[in-house]
Amino acid sequence: MRSGTPLFPEAASTIAPRVDALYLFLVGLTAFMTILIAALVVIFMIKYKRRDPNSIGARIHGGMALEIIWSIIPLFIVLGIFVWATGIFFDIARPPAETMNIYATGKQWMWKFQHLDGQREINELHVPVGRKVKMIMTSEDVIHDLYVPAFRVKADVIPGRYSHIWFEATKAGEYHLFCAEYCGTQHSGMIGKVVVMEPDDFQAWLSGGVQEGSLASAGSKLFQDLACNTCHRPDAQGRGPVLQNLFGKTVTLASGENVVVDEAYIRESILTPSQKVTAGFQPTMPTFQGLVSEEGILQLIEYVKSLKTDMPVSAVRPNTGGPAPNENTPAQAPPTRN
């Protein structure tokens, strides 16, 4: 964030210089074409100005060659721009495989962020320089849009869905964070800042925050509070499927359809379990609609993601300091078998 009157935005992500290069090229093209067109109009107005009120123009009907030239050349130019721009877009739209994930929830009119290590922030987002960060985002009410001009990225944040942006910050500093999709009364107040820190500072910041335990451990707690663990047990003895190693896997549904387990699928499983029933299971899972917040769902998702092996969560993330929840002890009465 700067004072004074900047005329060009700061570039603080790896993608920003590439976006700027295309932008400057197009500015050049626009300036060239506009000046050319304006010059021709003015020159023709002066050169062919009507002096005798009865004079008429030359009898020229058209010219095939010219029409072809001025159709084909612009066509190739715009197709060239298309290829260039699409290359950049694909890199923006498709996050790399290995990213540091942060969850974002938008609501009228604030941004809530949850780091995997448990830090939570409102309207402020801390990220390190040089790490590929992926934001996994949803909304509690209407459509919002997370926009960081200095990174040249934005994406709509849509209720009922998970959308993503990713970036790699290149310069420590503070940058604007805006809601870019009109969302009602205080739309222009739904702003905040991104604080980009050197990796060491970021690490210090991470460990300096309140120790609430990691996001996955919060999820683990919810998993027990909501009694998910009565049906989903690592030993395959529950009524529901084993969730270990589930994330990213392809599961077959009772309908015969195959789906890849991603955030949206887990969300759906929690809120509308009867929509997509896993093959081999009875549709006995109750809906948790209204019982768990969007942020809670994100915690559960993170917990499911953390279930890489049948080890408890604390073994996966040893540095979080939270107590290891014991999954094998159901919080409530043992499930009845069917």
């Binding site: 964030m1 004074g4 005329l7 060009f8 590439r18 976006v19 295309l22 932008y23 197009l26 093209l29 626009t30 074409m33 506009t34 109009v41 023709f44 107005m45 062919y48 009507r50 009865n54 008429i56 123009g57 030359a58 009898r59 020229i60 010219l66 029409e67 612009p74 715009v78 197709l79 721009i81 298309f82 260039w84 721009a85 699409t86 950049i88 877009f89 694909f90 890199d91 739209a93 009410d141 209407v142 459509i143 849009d145 926009y147 040249r152 934005k154 994406a155 709509d156 849509i158 209720p159 009922g160 869905r161 604007h176 805006f178 009109y182 009602g184 009364t185 739309h187 222009s188 107040g189």
Partner: protein, 540 residues
């Protein structure tokens, strides 16, 4: 041009019946055009008043003039009024209505009563929408995005939605009327390829109106129904899809930008030819460019949704088509310029508006390339860059064309001439004021200022102040014609039948024309824009 010696024709459509009733129940397309002129001008003033409030508020970074709610209502109403009640009807309902029968040598449109009905539908639609202003306002933006408009907004969405729904039928019926008229009512010898390009442009526009508007109508009714009955089609909380609304909305609203710009392009073709006294260069290319734009224009709506989570491959197709649709627009610009080459270029008011149009439309069109570029659109969409872009096209383009047309045909419509110097000055003032207003918005948009922001960070203030200052110049430019045109009604020189020495059937009848347009049905034996004028008695 010896117009001072000419007298007004003794009878013409304006003095054929002087009662209020003879105006309000007229079936004469020319009188209906004037009814629209009055109504559309009124809504332009309303929309402009909202624009003034926006620019005043944005002169300072803090939201200090209006409350959050009121600011949101103001920019929403600015958009709704300008888009649905000014830009979409302006050229077709006023100039199209007035000129299409004259230009093809017909007595009237095919369905005169339907034409009057269209006007009243427009009027009733506008009443509903105006009602929403007084009954709580509308704060959804003119885009009505769900689920905000369906579940979150507490404003008067339903009356506004109904108003827009009703108004849609006005456009559909007018489009239908034009299509049938152009097919069936052409004078003997007026073949398709002798039609003025203004008529071609309206033909293409009418196709969009007839095919696209029903989709908007249904969509907007669904929004209202969802609010009243809680259908949930667009509500994710009950399994609906809010993004579906965006697809439906833009399926109409992208083509709608061509409803706004194609007729203005048609005007420019007429004005260039008449100002240069020369046939439009590449007539068939310009004609088919209109049709091409109308067709491809239906397939690019997804370019509004590159950041809404549509699949990257869908986005790719929408992007490439958006680039391709730029080509016919460029072709038109090149052809207009080529038309000036070795012409006899007049320096009267219409030519000044043409020059202004070409300049602003060039910038508007070229900045469209920025937004079709997906990698760049991610940064630019929903910022002031896009606001600047579409104002260049729709205000710089459409209004320049519209005002150019009004100045060109004013003597035909009223029989009198306005002060040409004032006309030229207004064109220049508008051009300068327009650029002062909207050019800074490109800069502040690339800096990242989002649109629809009531308050904004301080570093954007200088650019916003420039924009607001420019808007006051622009306002002067828009007010000027109002005065000197009104003045000309009483004190203007008698124009004569053909003050510009132009060709075209409308110049072969009196100014103002008689109610039946032509004393005898014209027979066309010449090509469009064939100079010297082939009709006796109007030697230039």
């Amino acid at each position: 041009m010896s117009s001072s010696t000419v007298a007004m024709p003794p009878t013409h459509y304006l003095n054929n019946g002087l009662t209020l009733k003879s105006w309000l129940f007229t079936k004469d397309h020319k009188r209906i055009a004037l009814l629209y002129l009055v109504a559309v001008t009124f809504f332009f003033m309303v929309g402009a008043a909202f624009a003034v409030a926006i620019r005043l508020e944005l002169a300072t970074p803090a939201g200090d003039l209006l409350s959050d709610e009121n600011y949101n209502r103001v920019f929403t109403m600015h958009g709704v009024m300008m888009v649905f009640f000014f830009l979409i009807p302006a050229v077709p309902a006023i100039l199209g209505n007035f000129l299409i029968p004259l230009q093809i040598g017909a007595k009237d449109l095919a369905f005169p009563k339907l034409n009057l009905l269209s006007f009243y539908i427009y009027f009733v639609g506008s009443l509903f929408t105006m009602y929403s202003i007084v009954s709580g306002g509308l704060d959804t933006g003119w885009t009505f995005y769900t689920p905000f408009s369906t579940v979150a907004s507490t404003s008067a969405v339903v009356p506004a939605a109904l108003g827009i729904f009703i108004n849609g039928f006005s456009g559909i019926l007018t489009g239908l009327n034009f299509i049938v008229t152009i097919h069936k009512m052409r004078a003997p010898g007026m073949t398709w390829f002798r039609l003025p390009l203004f008529v071609w442009a309206h033909y293409a526009t009418s196709l969009i109106q007839v095919l696209g508007t029903p989709v908007l109508a249904i969509t907007i009714v669904l929004v209202a129904a969802e609010r009243i009955f809680g259908f949930g089609l667009f509500n994710p909380a009950v399994g609906g899809d809010p993004v579906l609304f965006q697809h439906l909305f833009w399926f109409y609203s992208h083509p709608a930008v061509y409803i706004m710009i194609l007729p203005a392009m048609g005007i420019i073709s007429e004005l260039v030819a008449a100002s240069a006294r020369k046939q439009v260069f590449g007539y068939t290319f310009v004609a088919f460019a209109s049709i091409g734009i109308a067709v491809i224009g239906f397939l690019v709506w997804g370019h509004h949704m590159f950041v809404s989570g549509e699949s990257v491959y869908a986005a790719l197709v929408f992007s490439v088509l958006s680039f391709i649709v730029a080509v016919p627009s460029a072709v038109k610009v090149f052809n207009w310029i080529a038309t000036m080459y070795r012409g006899s270029v007049s320096w009267e008011t219409p030519m000044f508006y043409v020059a202004g149009f070409i300049g602003l439309f060039a910038i508007g069109g070229l900045t469209g390339l920025f937004l079709a570029s997906m990698g760049l659109d991610v940064h630019l969409t929903d910022t002031y860059f896009i606001v600047a872009h579409f104002h260049y096209v729709m205000v710089g383009g459409t209004i320049m064309g519209y005002l150019g047309g009004i100045h060109f045909w004013w003597p035909k419509i009223t029989g009198r001439m306005y002060n040409d110097l004032l006309g030229r000055v207004s064109a220049v003032v508008i051009f300068v004021g327009f650029n002062l207003t909207f050019f800074p918005q490109f800069v502040v948009g690339y800096l990242g200022m989002p649109r629809r922001y009531h308050a904004y960070p301080e570093e954007f203030q200088v650019l916003n102040v420039l924009s607001s200052a420019g808007a006051s110049v622009l306002a002067v430019g828009y007010l000027m014609p109002l005065f000197y045109l009104a003045y000309s009604l009483k004190y203007g020189e008698i124009a004569g039948d053909n003050p510009f020495g132009a060709v075209g059937l409308e110049w072969n009848t009196t100014s103002p024309p008689p109610t039946e347009n032509f004393k005898t049905t014209p027979v066309v034996t010449w090509e469009a824009y064939e100079y010297p004028t082939p009709v006796e008695g109007h030697v230039v």
